[in-house]
Symmetry: C2
Subunit: 382 residues, 2 copies
């Protein structure tokens, strides 16, 4: 049905009506006092969300642009970095590092499994010369629905002394990412995820320790030079013309998030993850990630006896629900349900109910009709 | 008056209501067939606007990000580039080149004057070893309202064989920028200018000759790697999550531009420039750029006997019209009237009428009341 699409992909995520309408307002001048006030307000909101006293900068970019900025600003050619990789995005950060001539060591885990923090400890302990300058970890691996144990890993990194650089693109706003408490040096994210906004803004939070590294870092940069953003942000301004209307939306979205409260937001994502996973289990659809490593933002499902792409196709055509497919070698093997950002408990029931009808249409008889909804309802009603 | 602001700065420029409303629509998935259709349509529209058969790529970035991408993708460290600089943006491209370790030669002109094409010819003729790999020129210098003679310069560059890299940020959509006819190898621009959109999208058009240079260019890049954008664009897709709602706006804006027609758009900007300049002359407010070098997008005025910043302040407070000030050493010396993008002839009369009232309020008696409107009307009514 036209104009009826419901997004349940890990991004773009649903956008609340007040945010959409705010973005339909006419732009103002980005060098005006009025825009400086918006900058001041959203900066305060971003610090709240990141649980930090440090800088949080806003770029016109995708999450990848933000993450690249968060890597290249603190390193020099030939520097050694340790990249955790258990999915498409971990792989991508290794490629970014290679593109800039960094020496890249990796710690990998099979797609669908979490990175083992003890491997980080071992590798960092062995680096007695402290040649590893930075460790890069993807908190929530969007491609597989796995949440890595960032807290434990960052503890080891802190002991070692390297910079802890974090892709929090699909964890921020879904899970706690307490930047200061965990000692994270850089946290990158994008607007089309937990922020409840369309794509177009990238966020980079930077610790004092990272700014120290910035002083001697020599990788070339200009548009992605975070020093320029900090200098401007200190005046509630921007080095380059910012996406003014997306800032309007950000202002409203952060205000909505603050009204809901961080604990409530995290609890909501956890509850919806639990309900979604309970439903998949009840429908005999195998979960791709183990419970202990499940992302509160995305549930990946590896159906047996029914084609993942056919499920996605019927869900879209008949029920106007967009699910994500598998990426790279997981194409056709899994589907992914996003429950990230502006998602109500009702949406989970909607998705599960539609999935049951889809399975019926596809002739999959490996489940008891109603079992998915029943399992989800039990979690949500608890 | 709240919510009454009229933008007459060189960006962000006014956004038509159908574009604003299109951007308030809910995002769709950027990997969907529906989004591919939008990509195909806007790509065709962008080629039309650039008058090119070559690729036009869309980035989530400001104009600076687009321009940086358009420089670094075709060059390697140590390459020699010749940068024309007669304003803030020309200066900026020299800084970008330096940040990447390029050897930068410059041809300068005083701010407010056009670059002399003959200096380019001389410098290129002298380069018998063909060591200059690229020439960078800002077509319309936003900081001063000067239009450089890109056609003549690009002819000399073509004879030499270097790449012709162009900042068309405030010329595209205001003046003809016939990429193929003039042999331009890269044309960069941004959404918040002639495109009648809010900021957030950067555009980079790339010639076949530039793609040849791309193959051997080694400056590091990932988010700004145009090869990734081309590979995806060839499939009507994007390498990174695109700003979906800004694409909705782009689709509508390009359609509006095609309905108006390129000749009509260029004629409108020329007429409004001429009317604005005639009004300033009639009000005895000295123009900062000579007629022969005037940008159709921005008119810079260097008032004598009345303070430029006071004019801007009264125009904003009393008449809700935002004018731009001078940048860098021109701060306080000039004000700039943007007549770029979604500007009707009525807007010019509005601005001139308000300027007359402002001058009166400031006690400036060096003009005949009504003379500005009379001069503008004469041009517009012709």
């Amino acid at each position: 049905m036209d104009n009826k699409l419901m997004l349940m992909i890990p991004g773009p995520t649903p956008v609340p009506e007040p945010v959409l309408l705010a973005m339909a307002k006419h732009p103002i001048g980005h060098r005006s006092g009025e825009f400086s006030q918006i900058m001041a307000e959203v900066t305060a909101g971003l610090k709240w969300l990141h649980q930090t006293q440090h800088d949080v900068l806003v770029l016109a970019s995708s999450g990848t642009g933000a993450m690249e900025a968060g890597m290249i600003n603190f390193l020099s050619a030939g520097d050694r970095v340790l990249v955790g990789s258990n999915g498409k995005f971990g792989d991508r950060w290794a490629k970014v590092a290679q593109a800039y001539g960094l020496q890249v060591d990796t710690i990998t885990a099979e797609w669908g499994k979490a990175l083992d923090p003890e491997e980080f400890r071992t590798r960092l302990d062995a680096d007695t010369s402290r040649s590893i300058k930075a460790v890069v970890v993807t908190h929530s691996e969007t491609s597989t629905g796995v949440l890595n144990d960032l807290k434990t890993i960052s503890g080891y990194v802190r002991s070692h002394g390297a910079l802890m650089l974090v892709d929090a693109v699909t964890s921020l706003g879904a899970a706690h990412v307490p930047m200061d408490e965990w000692g994270l040096d850089m946290v990158a994210s994008g607007s089309q995820k937990g922020f409840m906004l369309p794509p177009g803004l990238g966020f980079v939070a930077v610790s004092a320790k990272a700014w120290e590294a910035y002083k001697t870092a020599t990788l070339p940069k200009f548009y992605l030079d975070l020093g320029k953003y900090k200098k401007a942000a200190d005046q509630n301004s921007n080095p380059f013309t910012p996406p003014v209307t997306l800032f309007y939306g950000l202002q409203v979205a952060l205000s909505m998030m603050q009204t809901e409260g961080l604990e409530a937001i995290v609890a909501r994502h956890h509850r919806q993850m639990t309900a979604t996973r309970a439903a998949m289990r009840a429908l005999n659809l195998p979960l791709f990630a183990a419970d202990a490593a499940a992302s509160p933002a995305i549930t990946a499902v590896a159906p047996a006896g029914v084609d993942a792409e056919k499920i996605r196709s019927v869900m879209k055509k008949r029920y106007d629900i967009l699910l994500a497919g598998g990426q790279d070698h997981l194409k056709g093997q899994i589907f992914r349900v996003g429950h990230l950002g502006f998602v109500g408990d009702r949406d989970i029931l909607t998705a599960v109910g539609s999935l049951e009808a889809t399975l019926k249409e596809l002739g999959f008889d490996g489940f008891t009709p109603g079992a998915g909804i029943s399992a989800a309802a039990e979690v949500l009603a608890a």
